[in-house]
């Protein structure tokens, strides 16, 4: 096989554009996952608080998820071999992920559509799973992508589902969960007010330590065992520094800066993984010649150019209105804006209607 061709500039650029989309996905949807996990972590605060928690991401999670959908499609267009090998090779893991992503979307859109506590509680459980499971599965998947799997001459993955559950990949899963949870907790602290805000501050103060520990272990392991370049020591250091900075920032209640720190940490960790993976896109552990690389997995130069033009046109527009949407919903949400449990169904519904249609 021609696994060892030199990647062209265009191919390299596209590899990092794909990395950029996944980076955005992890940074943005990462806090959605974390906020959803907090529906479980702060469960005892009651139905009203759970509604408030979810409302902090209500207007934006959908757009965040599109980074995955578009990133996946760009992967298909720019690296069809990678797309085909990865998604057929990680079949059952991806199936699990898809099932969770499906019910998760419905949890968002449908939770408030039936006025019953049991109904909302059931969807809240789905929310918790919908935050936790994708984080874990993405971690395991990326652990396997950077460490490599067994690939045959047809570019078919031969590692079984159980074979994907290596200690390294499982650690990656744990790190993704912890990091997103912390990230979402800081986002929540930034978006709510009152007692809920204090509680999330406290939770973040606790969460940051295991995240630091597991994150450091994972990135060191990756850097020593799997990275293909010493350059990625730089983002490793950046990620570590950013996470460390969360400790004093959170203590000082500087929520905006603390959140910016986890944004940096996730971005740096993504850069580490993608940067260390380059020039491979999926290394073969059995026979290096069967590896998928940026060079042998890509589309033609013509397609890459066409897609680059398309991206240059649309990406700035997308980013512009996304930033605008975030600005429209930049205010904190107070806890009392969601219906208190037990205040009568009509009253609760009325209040939720008012809070939606007559927001300040």
């Amino acid at each position: 096989m021609d696994a060892m061709l030199e990647p062209t500039v265009l191919q390299t650029l596209w590899f990092f554009l794909i990395a950029f989309f996944f980076l955005c996905y992890f940074v943005l949807e990462g806090f959605d996952f974390g906020v959803q996990m907090n529906v479980g972590a702060l469960w005892r605060r009651g139905d009203g608080a759970r509604g408030t928690i979810l409302k902090t991401i209500g207007p934006v999670w959908d757009g965040n998820e599109v980074f995955l959908i578009t990133g996946g499609a760009l992967l298909f267009a720019a690296f069809p071999e990678w797309y085909a090998t990865l998604f057929s090779g990680f079949y059952l893991a991806l199936l699990l992920l898809l099932l969770v992503l499906i019910v998760r979307v419905c949890a968002f859109k449908w939770r408030g559509k039936v006025d019953s506590l049991r109904w909302r509680r059931a969807w809240d459980v789905v929310h918790v799973i919908g935050g936790l499971a994708p984080a874990l599965l993405w971690g395991v998947a990326f652990g396997n992508i950077v460490a490599g799997v067994e690939i045959d001459r047809n570019h078919w993955v031969t590692t079984s589902l159980l074979g994907l559950l290596t200690p390294f990949a499982l650690l990656a899963g744990v790190v993704f969960v912890l990091l997103f949870w912390l990230h979402g907790t800081l986002y929540l602290a930034l978006k709510v007010d009152g007692p809920l805000r204090q509680e999330t501050n406290r939770l973040a103060g606790i969460l940051v330590w295991p995240t630091l520990l597991a994150g450091a272990a994972f990135l060191l392991w990756f850097q020593l065992a799997h990275s293909h370049t010493p350059l990625t020591w730089i983002p490793v250091a950046a990620a570590a520094a950013a996470l460390l900075a969360v400790v004093p920032l959170n203590r000082a209640r500087r929520e905006g800066l603390a959140f910016a720190a986890t944004v940096t940490a996730i971005a740096a960790a993504s850069l580490t993984l993608f940067g260390g993976l380059f020039p491979y896109v999926l290394p073969a552990t059995n026979d290096p010649a069967n590896s998928l690389t940026v060079a042998n997995a890509s589309s033609t130069a013509h397609t890459l150019t066409v897609m680059l033009v398309a991206l240059a046109i649309f990406l700035p527009i997308v980013l512009a209105y996304t930033v605008w949407a975030y600005r429209v919903f930049r205010h904190r949400i107070t806890d009392d804006s969601s219906p208190a449990p037990g205040s009568g169904l009509l009253e609760a519904a009325k209040q939720s209607y008012r809070s939606t249609f007559e927001q300040r």
Binding site: G58, P59, I69, P80, L86, F87, S88, L98, H302, M307
Partner: protein
């Protein structure tokens, strides 16, 4: 069953399921946008009030529907990699581009602005807020365009060449590249057909739901006596709230029907040129005929669920119509299924290699039973909507003080019954167009039949149990979600818009059941 059959079933189930919700989303987002526009620009208070409430009423259902449409759409994109990886390798250089464009140009627009619309009531200025729903409508319509362009490449590949070195289809500048893919005549014909199909779904939905309530309020007003205060309220709800919505729904249906017929006619002619086998099997036309007739009823041979032509008998026939549909001349010669099969065997070989390199015999005939009946179901069920539209137009005739509503129970039930019909017509249409091109996943372009791939050559090399696992999992989850979706839509639709109650302090209308909340 082997992995190929299971993967095909899975694709069929997930796609048809996804496409139950998509047309309603596409159509309803546009109709809701128009309703909100009428509310924003309404001159008199009664109309403004009515359209605002209708916007919220149908908007709430739009959100329920959006959820499941997005959720099931994610599967569609990843399924190409999971079950059809060899197809993905073969066409990725071409096929990925419209999918990526769909994400960049349409999905972001749809999703970001949907969030802005849902949570922007009262927060954004009225006219900016109106623009957000238009952005949603534009996004969902654009996404249909890109997906149809991608599908059309599979029906009629253009803009690409076969690279013998890599063995895959590649976008080619000398063939027009991506612009050729996006301006594929197949896509230009299919897009208005699919989108107007969506308008028909939404129009019938609007008409059906509003007609139900119009009749209900009309009869309630009669019961209470129109002179009483309560009776008058009911009467006004029927006349000023639901009647305009019924008429608006009918208007959408009429526009949809016109576009459907014109684009469908155009499509039939393209199909005859590009995929004569599909045209022939739509008609179960086994032998080559000149001046082929259109049959309304056909009984199959001993095995109706097959590609077999033996024993196919046409019972009721309208002469020359099929020839006319295909070419706009009555005496055109249409090739029959068996002739085409023999011709293709000669052209493309009687056997082909599957993904494991085994030689397999090939039959170029699609399943005649499915193609024949899905084609008829598509047209027949859509025609159902025509009856509804005419009936609704008649019972709501008149203007101003003479504007009529009706208490007809028969009409009320017919309106409700008409809601699912265009949904089914849509599904039948897709089943027809996808089954009709088998055994191809990329149907050869007759002008240059080099880029082509058979379905059995596009599948992933999975063991059957693995595909079966996902097939069962998706079917179960989809089943549960379908039940919940139906219950929510039914409940929301039945509730109707509460009678107007002004909040004296804010002068806002109080409609407590219309929750947009998460």
């Amino acid at each position: 069953m082997d992995a190929l059959d299971l993967a095909r079933w899975q694709f069929g189930i997930t796609t048809v399921y996804h496409f139950v919700f998509v047309p309603l989303t596409i159509g309803l987002s546009l109709l809701v946008a128009i309703m909100q526009t009428r509310a924003v620009f309404a001159k008199d208070a009664v109309r403004k009030d009515a359209w605002t409430r209708m916007t919220k009423f149908f908007g709430s259902m739009l959100i329920v529907n959006f959820g499941i449409g997005i959720a099931t759409g994610i599967v569609q994109e990843f399924q190409f990699g999971m079950n059809w990886s060899e197809y993905a390798r073969f066409v990725g250089d071409v096929f990925g581009a419209p999918l990526a464009l769909e994400g960049l140009a349409a999905f972001f627009l749809e999703s970001v602005f949907l969030g802005l619309w849902i949570f922007g009531w009262g927060r954004l200025p009225e006219k900016i807020h109106l623009l957000t729903i238009w952005a949603v409508a534009l996004g969902s319509t654009l996404s249909a365009y890109f997906i149809i362009a991608a599908n059309s490449f599979m029906q009629h590949p253009v803009g690409a060449v076969l690279n013998p070195e890599t063995g895959r289809a590649e976008l080619d500048p000398s063939q027009g590249s991506i612009l050729a893919v996006l301006s594929n005549v197949t896509a230009l014909a299919a897009f208005p057909h699919v989108v107007s199909g969506a308008w028909l779904v939404a129009g019938a939905f609007l008409t059906g739901v509003a007609a139900w309530h119009m009749v209900r309020h009309h009869n309630r007003a009669r019961e209470l006596g129109i002179d009483t205060e309560e009776g008058q309220e009911q009467h006004l709800a029927a006349r000023d709230l639901y009647r305009p919505t019924v008429r608006f729904g009918v208007l959408a249906m009429v526009v949809a029907a016109l576009v459907l017929v014109v684009s469908g006619d155009f499509q039939a002619q393209i199909m005859f040129k590009q995929q004569p086998m599909k045209m022939a099997s739509a008609e179960a036309l086994c032998e080559t005929e000149t001046g082929a007739s259109f049959s309304i009823l056909t009984v199959g041979g001993p095995d109706a669920f097959s590609t077999d032509c033996d024993g196919v008998t046409h019972l009721i026939e309208v002469p020359y119509i099929t020839s006319f549909l295909a070419t706009h001349t009555f005496d055109a010669t249409l090739q029959g299924v068996d002739d085409l099969n023999a011709q293709y065997k000669e052209q493309f070989g009687a056997t082909a290699l599957d993904i494991h390199g085994n030689e397999v015999a090939v039959d170029y005939r699609p399943n005649l039973f499915v193609t024949y009946w899905s084609f008829r179901l598509m047209m027949g069920l859509a025609a159902f909507s025509g009856v509804l539209a005419l009936w609704a137009l008649w019972v709501t005739r008149g203007r101003g003080e003479a504007a009529r509503t009706t208490g007809s129970k028969a009409f009320q039930w017919f309106a409700v019954l008409s809601i699912p019909m265009p949904f089914l017509a849509n599904s039948a249409g897709w089943v027809f167009t996808e089954i009709g091109r088998q055994p191809w996943v990329v149907h050869p372009n007759p002008d240059d039949p080099v880029v082509r791939l058979m379905t059995m050559q596009g599948v992933s090399a999975h063991p059957g149990w693995m595909v079966l696992t996902s097939l069962v999992a998706f079917t179960l989850v989809y089943g549960v979600l379908a039940v919940l979706w139906f219950q929510m839509m039914r409940k929301a639709a039945l509730q109707g818009v509460p009678l107007a109650q002004r909040d004296l302090e804010t002068d806002e209308l109080d409609t407590p059941t219309l929750s947009f909340d998460y």
